[in-house]
Symmetry: C2
Subunit: 297 residues, 2 copies
DNA sequence: TTATTAATACTCAGATCGAGTAGAACGGAG
DNA sequence: CTCCGTTCTACTCGATCTGAGTATTAATAA
């Protein structure tokens, strides 16, 4: 058998609110917005994605980028499907959390990814031992585990969100493994999702964290104007790491990523902050403008 | 109409020889290795790609990564097809240039991308004027042109290979435009390829240039051991830029990317060079090891 | 021997980065 | 009205990194 297959589109729609990255799901909180590519209505894949998001989530997305195409046999029980996943970013203010959709906290899906209050407990409590057991005497596995989870002195790489999810899946620490393989999972870390939707979210978060440092994507998640603290909190939420405030200011101001508006934001407690806006001209000045994040401790 | 479509796989197989990045094509030098996904034989997309490359090009590829999925209506005249493009890297020494396949110089496809001997003539001679005319009074077009082609003082960004090809396509400076739209292209810069295969190569080269600075991908294109000059020449060929030799040495040696073997390579002319090998341990030591190229950080 | 060529080694100033400290402007409590 | 906690904002300083240039070494060719 060859050739004709069902082609689906999936949307990983991300926003940040209350200092948490969130992904949009259907009301059940388990499935991403998804739909079939309609050959006669959708001239391009991206337009198909936008239509689908409009229909299912009722929102108009701005930034859209193709993430990855999934097509492994194992991922779907009922016949083979090709799923093209897209990443979309929306400002939390614009996004309706109505009955049509729900927002799921990404760190409920991947509790081991949020290092803002130090190394997440769950790693020591529920992950390390299982990883060590899986490693055994294999040098190959040792290297893989060290690199993906930052063990044995290897630094933690925030961008390896996908690698970590896939490793946990392989070892059987996430619930989806059980569904897919039939065999029971050892543990069920994080909230599970339908099919390989959690894998898609992991792919999206990984892409986002990677791009943060060389493309001004954060601004897609913020309103027109914002304070530098707001900007920093959104960046921290995505990166899952705390940043040094004065240095962050220096980076974005002197780096020409933002410009002050002169208007002050009246805040709760403390000195009023100036409102800034994204400085589009930076795209012309520097080849890869972004928030060159530090390597997390 | 919805759902079932033809799904194809395309391979962008890259190697570097004679200081030129090359891409493997079928003997006609116009088409990439491609084939249908065979649902019952290929458990994963990546395995399908490997099988296909084995069958059509007769080589076993090492490094493989998914590039992009193309599915626009316009790209195929005969019914809609989804094409999943993969990037593969092979050491030039291993790759057979037999009758089954040909190697095409990437800079024959994209002559404006090779800045090793300064700014390519073709830009001033055949591109700038057409770009300017297209810009007209549009500020939006002005910005896009400046960023993609490094005009008006904006620095050239080597990684924007795809953006440049797509802009040239839009304006009608490449031959494929004519084929696709029916209307004649203004110019036909670079060697054309079948369908959107040149776009796929552009995607691959862009990805490769991007990754060069934070992943040790160069070593996939080199033999086990190599001199630092060889390494530098391969890096330069891919990046399309000349690098400062002493600084390059410092980067890779002190950065821990390579280790000396103690063996000296007898060369033609000049002092013998030491042979080095890739130092795998660097993956554990630093989060994003690569050749931090100039203006890309 | 000497010139040529390419590999390797060193130097130095400016930019950047991580970390820390100090002052400024608000609201609220006493 | 003053003090205090809070948050925004402004400097400082040393270590490291980067870009660029220069010098030395070890081979071959004339």
């Amino acid at each position: 058998m060859t050739g004709n297959l069902a082609v689906r589109l999936n949307a990983v729609i991300v926003s940040v609110s209350d200092e948490r990255p969130r992904v949009m799901t259907l009301p059940d909180a388990r499935a991403l917005p998804a739909g079939d590519l309609e050959t006669d209505r959708d001239p391009t894949l991206e337009l198909a994605l936008r239509r689908l998001v409009q229909e299912q989530a009722g929102i108009q997305v701005g930034y859209v980028e193709q993430l990855y195409t999934f097509g492994d046999q194992s991922r779907s029980p009922t016949g083979r499907t090709i799923s093209i996943a897209y990443l979309a970013l929306v400002d939390a203010g614009l996004a309706p959390a109505g009955g049509e959709a729900a927002w799921v906290d990404c760190y409920d899906l991947f509790p081991w990814e949020d290092w803002r209050d130090g190394r997440p407990r769950i790693i020591e409590e529920s992950i390390v031992d299982a990883l060590e057991e899986w490693v055994g005497d294999s040098a190959l596995r040792r290297e893989r585990v060290d690199i993906t989870f930052g063990l044995s002195g290897t630094p933690w790489d925030g961008a390896r969100v996908l690698d970590r999810y896939e490793l946990l899946y392989e070892i059987g620490l996430v619930a989806e493994k059980e569904t897919d393989s039939g065999r029971p999972a050892i543990r069920k870390l994080g909230e599970a999702m339908l099919l390989d939707h959690r894998r898609m979210v992991a792919t999206g978060l990984a892409r986002l964290r990677g791009k943060l440092s060389y493309r001004p994507v954060v601004f897609e998640l913020l309103p027109e104007t914002f304070t530098l603290s707001q900007l920093q909190r959104v960046a921290e939420a995505l990166a899952g790491v705390r940043l040094h405030k004065p240095n962050f200011r220096r980076l974005v101001e002197r780096g020409g990523l933002v410009e002050g508006t002169g208007i002050a934001e009246q805040r709760t407690g403390g000195r009023p902050a100036e409102l800034f806006r994204f400085r589009r001209e930076v795209l012309r000045e520097r080849p890869r403008p972004g928030l060159g994040l530090p390597s997390a401790r």
